[in-house]
Symmetry: D2
Subunit: 261 residues, 4 copies
Amino acid sequence: MAIRVVVWGENIHDRENETVRKIYPKGMHGAIADALNKDKGIKAATATMDQPEHGLSQKLLDQTDVLTWWGHRNHGGVDDAIVERVAKRVWEGMGLIVLHSGHFSKIFRRLMGTPCSLTWREAGEKERVWTINRQHPIAQGLDPWFVIPETEMYGEPFLIPEPMETVFISWYDGGEVFRSGVTFQRGGGRIFYFSPGHEVYPIYKDRNVGQVLRNAVNWAYNPAKPWKGVEIAPNRPTEKAPEPITEKGPKLHKPGEEGLR
Amino acid sequence: MAIRVVVWGENIHDRENETVRKIYPKGMHGAIADALNKDKGIKAATATMDQPEHGLSQKLLDQTDVLTWWGHRNHGGVDDAIVERVAKRVWEGMGLIVLHSGHFSKIFRRLMGTPCSLTWREAGEKERVWTINRQHPIAQGLDPWFVIPETEMYGEPFLIPEPMETVFISWYDGGEVFRSGVTFQRGGGRIFYFSPGHEVYPIYKDRNVGQVLRNAVNWAYNPAKPWKGVEIAPNRPTEKAPEPITEKGPKLHKPGEEGLR
Amino acid sequence: MAIRVVVWGENIHDRENETVRKIYPKGMHGAIADALNKDKGIKAATATMDQPEHGLSQKLLDQTDVLTWWGHRNHGGVDDAIVERVAKRVWEGMGLIVLHSGHFSKIFRRLMGTPCSLTWREAGEKERVWTINRQHPIAQGLDPWFVIPETEMYGEPFLIPEPMETVFISWYDGGEVFRSGVTFQRGGGRIFYFSPGHEVYPIYKDRNVGQVLRNAVNWAYNPAKPWKGVEIAPNRPTEKAPEPITEKGPKLHKPGEEGLR
Amino acid sequence: MAIRVVVWGENIHDRENETVRKIYPKGMHGAIADALNKDKGIKAATATMDQPEHGLSQKLLDQTDVLTWWGHRNHGGVDDAIVERVAKRVWEGMGLIVLHSGHFSKIFRRLMGTPCSLTWREAGEKERVWTINRQHPIAQGLDPWFVIPETEMYGEPFLIPEPMETVFISWYDGGEVFRSGVTFQRGGGRIFYFSPGHEVYPIYKDRNVGQVLRNAVNWAYNPAKPWKGVEIAPNRPTEKAPEPITEKGPKLHKPGEEGLR
């Protein structure tokens, strides 16, 4: 069975900005989904912010293996309840690919626990993406480096926790560097952040970027059954302790009482 | 100059529960502060939830090097704005020691990006805390293991990101294990979580626990000047690029415009 | 195509010790290979220390996707050249599963860069293996914990680098704990250490242990083409620099000269 | 008491190469020691390869808190026994700073367990060193970036284990990037690798580089008492088990027997 992907797009600049509209007539989410669907093992659909529940109903998320996230113009407009819903699905095992300006999305900051800030410059300069570990699943099919001819510069310091793996580091014409591809594990879910993807350049039509996205989806996919209740702290009472023990001492909780939260 | 510590206490069970009141007549925060102040290099004061701004004004936090956090009964009652304030101070460089039931505090879950759930049992059983790396600053002055005679069991799975360092792992009478001492780095701030500390046992009067707390404060202290603006993504415009470049291509942002958020 | 596994066995106690011989009439390597071959996606053969080149010719290693390693009696007798050969294959992308007393094997210590020491006791006591992240590929099909009725105790401190992931932690009757399942990445190769497996108990016939081994092989398998030359530091001369530059300043190396080593 | 540092120098190019001799009349080790001794809390001496035992007697190492290592011309000539001696001192708690071409030293490869290979080019090009976390102790007193006007390029992929912390990443004129400052923990010892330092440029006289070196020594210093016997796996017999247990089952080891190795 194919990996079920939902490509989430903010879909604001895609509609309102003429430059973006010309490059991505089907929206950026449309282009990303097209890139993913070139892999026959992937079945990518799209969802956008303007849909009810931002297109991310619990039912849809429960049937989603990997979610990709692109937003820029209105991170603040994303409903906090939807953010929590997505975070929980990640902890349960859903993969998450966060793209470019998504570094400042609520969901990425929620899962990192850091500001996810960086420096930036929009000058159409050249970016060279270096592969740090060519054996990593996300780097398959790539050369030692590839070039994005026109990019928005994202520079260090990038305020993320130390990644599980640094997969890509970028070099820029203007003199900066950036950890442009990094992985994290949060609960049952794997997370990949990939920085290329500014909306006024046709980056999601780039052959190498498409390869990275397809690789990332395959890497982030966790076939394990969702970890329902991952956020709950269950009591294991004395009579169910793996080793027989005798209760002693004073108590705060009454028998059968739920834990505090 | 001494390390300036604020010992934050929820101060609910400390007042309302007779057992807790007897063990900790000055409140748990009082006992923790006493344990810390045995180190002449530490100057620990207390703050409690019932005070204005939960006792954590911006001014006080700006003068705090390390904050310790104990809460249990009413995590949900902590004001979100105060949580964000504390998180920002951690990113700027303030150390944070999260204690026992603080695993479910808003601030710890905020900084971890995971549910921080676990299993638990209140049976007064024995806990043996094993030191994983005896050369770690937090483990100085300890034996290979120490025993807490009566404890609340906290068991794996503990839903945290993979720690920077696993300092302690606990064994329980009832058959469970737990990563009872773990470190993290988030922005400029160091974080240490330490699980012993249930309120109906005199754990914060334990000699070894006191040693761990003092060690942890010294370890978490970062003398660097606070990283003000750590949460902002500054633009570095073309004319200030480290290497001279010429702008090209289309643009989303107007000159001098702030970044989107 | 099936994952090609070589199960390496020291094959000394297997032949010389009557207890071991009775439990493992085909040798421990035989039992491990049997456990692996229950997965139709795995094709496991065996190799033993007493064979020419310890059964690990370059040709065989080049056709091996994952190697498992069990040794105890004579780690020192393993040829250093073979150890280097295996290490290089791991860096190129071959997976490695190190078992039980293999913690002190030359190859494990070579790849960890640490002593890999621990404490131990042979008392036939009970071990309870706790799963830390049930969504991890190596933990699939397991309960929250499983028990090994008679085990050799391996206790902390375990002198390894901080793992990429802690998958299992064990509890022992006698009061110790141990990080019994840990992962590492070294170059292109994934490494999993799993501690259960003392030779005088039938541990490799245990249902759960078999499940862990099969899971681990699938996890460690890297389908990428071997990274030949991973150990070489290639010169990229000025005329092949990604960006045009002009040489300047004094020089140590003559043009075309190889790097020092 | 001051931190006792030994600056180890290969001292071959320092003597034989006229360019190097002019830049570093006291040898590179002399210049590094001078840079360190500007910190009154540091007391740096030197040792060189041509001395008996390469200048690294057990007695000297036992009195050394932090060792810095620079070699290039003859890594292979370093005695394996001395390498093991140094490795053991690191595991016991001695800090280690590995410099530039020391990436290929026996001691660094020994402690990393990886090839430590990279790409390189000697063209006197410009290197810009970016600070990833300005709150890190090793980054104190530095600007967001500093420039080394003439450098040897060291480029990714750098075949090291995923670092504990990435402190610096470098940008090069010729288009490459490199993780130029990375930390590791191995046993009780902290390790810092710093890549700038090619011998035909006056890099160790650079103000910023000197600052990094002094910071790194302070960071790597572990005041804990050396962990003697860190490489030994001690038996904890049944009668000394933390919990009372009764031996059962068959045995491999006779009572009081040492562990196999």
